[in-house]
């Protein structure tokens, strides 16, 4: 037969050459990736350094002691009150409320989207959630002040102050809801189909399968969503600045006004502030504290997740 298959015939079209070769493209890409990696690490280090340097100026002030910083509960550096706790507790309370709202709702939404919704319903619902994520936080802030607070006052009565942590926290929860639900949905959808089939084949209902097989298997991804959600809540500024209150207040009552760390930094640095005053350097101490709180919360959630996650290959 004349018609030969050339791909089978010409298998020696390229000569054998095993010498080392220059691959310029490879090395360019490699160095670019390396530089980006180093740069992002460098920027982080530089920020922490700058923060630490200015905060050190604050702690070097003879009036400031760590005992006062961590041991007292009133914060007004201008008149010599250096207790950081009122800012920390309000940050923790608003964030806890936000997570308390967004985690169950976000998980329920993501379970519905990934396990129950038809493909049609899913493609209709996801964009709506994403719109929620696109709303500027200043809008959320006024939503808290002008809608949520009156609502809380109607429900819980006169005890609810005009500025209060509950309202800010709830609205912050609504703000991070799309983040939690969409990241959790990704994690749930990534659970292999064969695991679900294995559960169904055992006579499990849809609810048992979703809650007891799929959800635990997706826990590490959901944990990542939770960590990012916490970080967003702790670092969120606009909503708390508008709705939570202007002035440090050491209280555990969510219906009272209390300024968070971020809200405090925003308000003080918004006024005129002269360089090297105690008010100025104190802001860096607050920022450093904010950084530490975020770090500690991340570490705690990471440990909890590692403890409960279920590994599948």
């Amino acid at each position: 037969m004349k018609q030969e298959n050339t791909i089978l015939e010409n298998k020696n079209f390229r000569p054998l050459d095993l010498k080392k070769k220059m691959r310029p493209g490879e090395s360019v890409i490699q160095s670019l990736l390396f530089i980006s990696g180093v740069l992002s690490v460098f920027i982080t280090v530089a920020i922490v350094y700058e923060l630490g340097k200015e905060a050190l100026l604050f702690f070097n002030n003879p009036d400031v002691t760590l005992a006062k910083f961590f041991g007292t509960t009133r914060w007004q550096p201008g008149i010599g009150l250096f207790g950081i706790w009122p800012l920390v507790t309000s940050t923790l309370i608003t964030s806890a409320i936000a997570i308390f709202v967004s985690l169950p709702l976000g998980l329920a939404a993501s379970l519905f989207l990934s396990e129950y919704a038809s493909p049609k319903a899913r493609s209709a619902l996801k964009p709506i959630l994403e719109i929620l994520a696109g709303i500027p936080t200043v809008v959320y802030g006024y939503f808290a002040l002008l809608f949520m607070t009156p609502l809380l006052q109607k429900i819980f009565g006169e005890g609810v102050q005009v500025y209060n942590m509950a309202s800010a926290g709830i609205v912050m929860g609504i703000m991070i809801l799309p983040l939690i639900s969409s990241m959790s949905e990704d994690a749930l959808s990534a659970v292999p189909r064969v695991l679900r089939e294995g559960a169904y084949a055992m006579g499990a209902t849809k609810f048992e399968t979703s809650l007891q097989v799929v959800l635990p298997a997706a826990l590490s991804g959901i944990g990542a969503a939770l960590i990012i959600g916490i970080s967003r809540a702790v670092g969120e500024t606009m909503i708390v600045a508008i709705a939570a209150g202007a002035g440090p207040n050491f209280t555990f009552d969510p219906f009272k006004a209390a300024e968070t760390m971020t809200g405090h930094i925003a308000r003080i640095s918004g006024g005129d502030l002269s360089y090297n005053t105690i008010d100025y350097t104190s802001l860096f101490a607050v920022a450093l504290m904010l950084f530490l709180v975020t770090l500690v919360l991340n570490l705690i959630s990471q440990t909890i997740i590692n403890r409960f996650r279920q590994r599948y290959e």
């Binding site: 089939e197 169904y200 084949a201 055992m202 499990a204 048992e208 097989v213 279920q310 599948y312 290959e313």
Partner: protein
């Protein structure tokens, strides 16, 4: 309508078609599967073996476009009847998959979970031990019960999947190429296990391995694409395994089992 006489078959299909959308992947299957025997389903790739097997425990319900016509009778009841709960069907018809798919839980929990959701109220430790013994895995894992199931080898994982299936005590166990991802020794153990299990269970196994079908099964269903070019699979011959391998009626079966076909 309740059948008064006790039906002698584990599963009986009547004019069963399985569709994906408008495509009939399996057409016109009439089978009578004997109780407490091993029935093998063989045939070339893509002829609808898995599709047919998954029709027996309503697994195809999870493929949105899939539907079934005809009947699949289990103890006289059509499992596709309008008043049938598919969850109850699957509680009575267990399934072992091609790739081992234990739950990402401890070995113990893998077995206990299924029993618990099926309302098991007895001594769980005992059930776990008995199921693992039944799947010839107990000796290897009795000291590792708290370990994650994914730390086991593939063959052990597959036996764990068999163990969790027998823990819920179904009437029938479906197996879709249960040994195709395993080494020869693990395969042998699973085959031995099937001989053991058929004393109490009806087993239906899909396999690509002719020797395996000949070794383990009592009956064999030979599937093939229809000759009309519709890409639709059907059972072209069904009888005792001995007959299929030594004295097949259909020329295509003979070609296939002697290796002269795809």
């Amino acid at each position: 309508m309740q059948n008064t006489q006790i039906p002698e078959y584990a599963i009986e299909t009547k004019n069963l078609f399985v569709f994906y959308g408008s495509f009939a992947a399996v057409s016109e299957v009439n089978l009578k599967i004997e109780k407490q025997k091993v029935t093998a389903i063989i045939g070339p790739s893509g002829c609808g073996k898995s599709t047919l097997l998954r029709a027996f425990n309503r697994m195809n319900d999870f493929v949105p476009s899939s539907y079934v016509t005809g009947e699949v009778l289990m103890r006289g009841q059509n499992i596709y009847g309008s008043n049938i709960d598919p969850v109850e069907v699957r509680r009575n018809i267990g399934m072992v998959f091609q790739k081992p798919n234990p739950f990402p839980k401890s070995i113990y929990e893998n077995i206990a979970w299924g029993a618990r959701i099926n309302g098991f109220k007895g001594n769980m430790d005992e059930l776990v031990e008995q199921s693992l013994r039944g799947a010839a895995l107990w000796e290897e894992v009795k000291d590792l019960l708290k370990k994650n199931a994914y730390e086991l080898s593939g063959g052990q994982q597959q036996r764990l999947c068999i163990a969790r299936t027998i823990a819920i005590q179904p009437d029938i166990i479906l197996m879709d190429e249960p040994a195709s991802a395993l080494d020869p020794i693990s395969t042998l153990r699973i085959e031995e296990l099937m001989q053991e299990l058929k004393k109490n269970y009806t087993i239906i196994i899909v396999t690509h391995n002719m020797q395996q079908a000949a070794r383990v099964s009592d009956y064999t269903a030979m599937m093939m694409l229809e000759k009309d070019g519709s890409r639709s699979g059907t059972v072209i011959e069904f009888s005792e395994t001995k007959k299929i391998f030594t004295n097949p009626k259909d020329k295509r079966t003979e070609d296939y089992v002697t290796g002269r076909f795809g």
